[in-house]
């Protein structure tokens, strides 16, 4: 039999096969990290600081230990290894020893036979604090008078200052607009709470079943804190209920392992929703000051920007977020003269780190607001101004990096501009189509429609010289008379569909229909993080490379030139062909510390949005009527999944535009619940019209371009621009609140 297998195989790249985990998920049988269970399992709970800044004078655990059902109460004294961790800079204690720097910082952990017992034990721990005035304003943190929150940091309260200098230092322009913009603190608000199950092992090590974005970076930090070699800290990916950046940092990983090793019993730790708001980092709030200069014809001459990011109490990824905000700080535009200073700060606010869009989101609200302001000053159409200055392949970024793959910024804008507009609201009015909905706040009186545009830029993969790689093991064998491929990586499926994609790549490369994806764990090398829109690129690249190695070996075995000619069952017989490959994208460079010059990024990705809104200008209520989006994805590896990313990413951008903000007052979170922190419901999300472009990047596997983040970046400024168009208000702060629209403030 010499069937041409590659032509009959379905579910290859470019197809949209159903998710392999879909049936389990709709049945409720998919095992998320909070669903795990083990014999004799104990429940963990965490004592957190009520103060944003305080010295710990003493901790008394005796009353907690005395509670029946409690097996362990552990503090900083019980951390077996180094009491410190951190993604980029280790600066955060596993359990606070002498000082707490944010409200919610973990101080002690408890294991008990029932979660309620554990919570009650936590309440019995007595901590004596000396409370200090918190540093809650990053502007104040910059001043010499502010207390230095991390005395070991050589730059005081500055985590990182990124400077970009390009072109003339003192350019002049015909038309100049300035603006100051503010971005509130957004939460990733994944639905599956932080959770995991730690199981002590006979070798003195521990197995941790965990929802995370990057198993190996967790493993490294957990092993250090436990004082164990990495091979004794084995991580297994449990079902992940969304991530969006919030699972890049550790939460309960070390705590659960400490309790399991101490009690020699499995320990499960699950945060409730309120605790989750304290248990992970958030999107950096930002203040952005811009000055744009242009010729009277509308050509950008210069952009000056000062960006201040509030990193909160610990560094997390503030350094990389600052680099993104700076290097992408002028947006997808050609600007000959650029000066950007971005500072990421320590304060006593909640720690901030990764969230979808990662620094590019904050900058985009600034530069897109400025482009609209500039268009108004020039009396130009805002889309025309953007197109006139749009980046294209061959142009140079403010870092000096030349864009060496398609950058269809102008085409994306044209596409969303040229789509038909939604019809006006029909009469008689259906309340469900009104701002305020069935609250019956208007029947159309005071409702004004507005249209706005936004376009954004994002780097894909890890930047600035980071050794960014993934590892894939691919195995081909005959099982039950049929060739079967097995793919093993440590890459985290967080909902995006990476498991589907890995199988599509294997089917495409090896022409085999049956592909199984092995559970992700640390028994194989690192896959890097499911972040930075990078996994299709990097783990996709690794799976393809491993398949190519397997294919080469099979062809050599058979003495053939192509798999199409082969009967794999016959060629393989009992033989197993297995190859493990580590794959890297092209290297990047660091940024010059004084000028920010350098080929720092691997790939750039772009999306544009048009937003149509109806605004009740009397009550300040907004209904987004429609979102149109155009995005270049290089190659739509799985077109349905691509649409899902664009729809979901746009929704998170809508949330930031009009509703999502963690309210922090004096360093304390005032709304840690889904009652008070609102995310878009199905009533808030409009229909979306989406154009997907496929302009191949010659440097990337299959020509693909990272998909997940760009739509989150451009939807926010488009919606705000539409509200401005409807109201005439300046709207310099997001999320936009009713009081901004009716003009009571800002």
């Amino acid at each position: 039999m010499t069937t041409a297998l590659t032509t009959t195989v379905t579910g290859r790249i470019g197809d949209s096969p159903v998710r392999p985990d879909g049936a389990l998920k709709v049945r409720g049988e998919f095992a998320y990290s909070s669903d795990l269970w083990a014999d004799e399992m104990l429940w963990g709970a965490t004592l957190r600081s009520p103060h944003p800044y305080a010295t710990i004078k003493s901790i008394d655990i005796s009353a907690a230990l005395a509670l029946p059902g409690v097996s362990a109460v552990l503090t900083h004294d019980d951390v077996p290894g180094d009491n410190i961790y951190g993604l980029e800079h280790p600066d955060q204690p596993v359990l606070a020893a002498t000082v707490v720097r944010y409200q919610g910082e973990p101080i002690a952990v408890v294991a008990a036979d029932h979660p309620e017992t554990a919570r009650r034990a936590v309440d019995r721990i007595v901590v004596d604090y000396e409370v200090h005035d918190p540093v809650t304003d990053p502007e104040v943190a910059l001043t010499a008078a502010a207390p230095v929150l991390h005395p070991d940091n050589p730059a005081g309260n500055v985590v990182r200052h990124v400077r970009i200098r390009r072109g003339e230092p003192n350019p002049t322009a015909d038309v100049v607009v300035t603006g100051e913009y503010t971005v509130g603190m957004q939460d990733q608000a994944f639905l599956g709470p932080e959770s995991g199950l730690a199981v002590p092992a006979e070798d003195g090590g521990v197995d941790l079943y965990i929802a995370t974005q990057w198993l190996h970076v967790d493993q490294k930090q957990v092993a250090r804190a436990l004082g164990l070699p990495a091979e004794k800290v084995r991580l297994h990916l449990a079902g992940v209920g969304g991530a969006f950046g919030a699972r890049e940092d550790l939460s309960m990983q070390v705590h659960a392992c400490m309790l399991a090793l101490h009690t020699l019993k499995p320990v499960k730790l699950v945060y409730g929703r309120e605790e989750s708001f304290f248990g992970h980092v958030h999107r950096h709030p930002a203040v952005l000051r811009y000055e744009h200069g242009a010729t009277s014809d509308g050509d950008l001459v210069y952009v000056r920007a000062e960006i201040l990011l509030d990193g909160g109490a610990y560094a997390s990824t503030t350094s990389a977020v600052s680099a993104n905000a700076a290097t992408l700080g002028v947006g997808p535009y050609r600007v000959p003269n650029v000066s950007v200073d971005c500072r990421g700060m320590y304060t006593n606010n909640p720690p901030c780190g990764a969230m979808r869009g990662f620094g590019a989101v904050q900058a985009a609200f600034g530069y897109e607001s400025q482009m609209d302001k500039l268009a108004a000053a020039l009396r130009m159409d805002p889309v025309e101004l953007r197109i006139r200055n749009a980046l294209a392949e061959g142009d140079t970024m403010p870092t000096g990096q030349v864009i060496d793959s398609p950058a269809p910024v102008a085409e994306l804008l044209e596409r969303v501009r040229d789509k038909p507009l939604p019809p006006p609201v029909a009469t008689p009015v259906d309340l469900r189509e009104m701002p305020g909905g069935v609250s019956n706040t208007t029947h159309g009186e005071g409702v004004v429609r507005g249209v706005g545009y936004g376009v954004g830029i994002k780097n894909v993969c890890f930047s600035e010289g980071f050794d960014d790689y993934s590892t894939a093991r691919v195995r081909l064998e005959v099982i039950g008379g049929e060739p079967v491929v097995s793919v093993h990586t440590a890459a985290a499926e967080v909902g995006q569909g990476l498991v589907t994609l890995q199988a599509q790549i294997a089917r495409t490369e090896l022409g085999v229909q049956r592909v199984t994806i092995q559970p992700a764990d640390t028994s194989i090398g690192s896959a890097g993080s499911s972040s930075a829109s990078r996994q299709s690129y990097v783990t996709g690249g690794a799976v393809r490379a491993a398949c190519e190695a397997v294919r080469a070996e099979v062809l050599e075995l058979a003495g053939a030139a192509s798999l199409d000619e082969l009967d794999l069952v016959e060629v393989l017989g009992d033989r197993v062909v297995e190859r493990t490959v580590q794959w890297r994208h092209r290297p990047t460079e660091g940024l010059d510390p004084l000028t920010g010059q350098g080929n720092a990024h691997v790939q750039y990705a772009f999306a544009a949005h048009r937003a149509v809104v109806d605004v009740d200008v009397e009550l300040g209520l907004v209904r987004v009527v429609e979102l149109a989006c155009a995005q270049d994805v290089g190659r739509a590896m799985n077109p349905d999944a691509v649409l899902g990313q664009i729809q979901g990413g746009s929704a998170q951008g809508l949330g930031l535009a009009v509703m999502e903000e963690i309210q922090v007052v004096d360093g304390k979170i005032r709304n840690p619940s889904f009652t008070d922190y609102l995310i878009p419901t199905v009533l808030d999300m409009p229909p979306m019209s989406i154009d997907v472009l496929e302009l191949a990047d010659p440097h990337a596997p299959y020509g693909l371009r990272g998909v997940g983040e760009p739509p989150t970046i451009s939807s926010t400024p488009a919606i705000v621009a539409a509200i401005r168009a409807a109201t005439g208000r300046a709207l310099t702060r997001i999320p936009v609140r009713p009081e901004h629209i009716v003009g009571h403030v800002g």
Partner: protein
């Protein structure tokens, strides 16, 4: 401690040593081995724990375990029959309405209830019916597709 007896997915089930503060959600997930209903907010805001209680969809996190005594509960695990998915479950898989899937069990139950009440809902009716279920991954577009598919497929 109390004993709770509930009919779950057609079977009589009993949980012993239930602390009176436990929710129906906790008893289903931790005592009866049915973790399908999810624990995303545990205060009735997200709908991830939606189950039928005597044929009415409820947030299982808001029902005290004792309130379910003697009543009928149907969870997402009880919608299909054997290996067969319920048409609504099938539609969620086919349309790509599932990403991380944490909201899915609650949405499937809520959408299942909608189609039982209203076999051919308009988009506005679908949106209204699902307004109590949060999803953070999909932007809801493909969830609407799923419900339209299940409704169009007849029942």
């Amino acid at each position: 401690m109390i004993r709770v007896t509930v009919e779950v997915n057609g079977e009589p089930r009993t949980a012993d040593d239930v602390w009176p503060g436990e929710s129906l959600l906790y008893v289903l997930r931790e005592r009866l081995g049915l973790p399908g209903a999810k624990n995303a907010c545990e205060q009735g805001e997200c709908g991830s724990c939606t189950v039928y209680l005597d044929d009415v969809p409820v947030c299982a996190c808001l029902v005290a375990a004792g309130q379910a005594e003697g009543r009928r509960v149907r969870t997402v695990e009880g919608l299909g029959s054997g290996d067969e998915l319920d048409p609504m479950q099938e539609a969620f898989v086919r349309t790509g309405a599932v990403q991380c899937g944490f909201c899915t069990p609650g949405l499937v139950v809520a959408a299942h209830d909608l189609i039982n009440r209203n076999p051919h809902p308009s988009d506005a009716e679908i949106r209204e019916a699902l307004a109590g279920n949060l999803c953070r991954c999909t932007g809801y577009e493909k969830i609407l597709d799923a419900v339209r598919l299940a409704a169009g497929g007849g029942s």
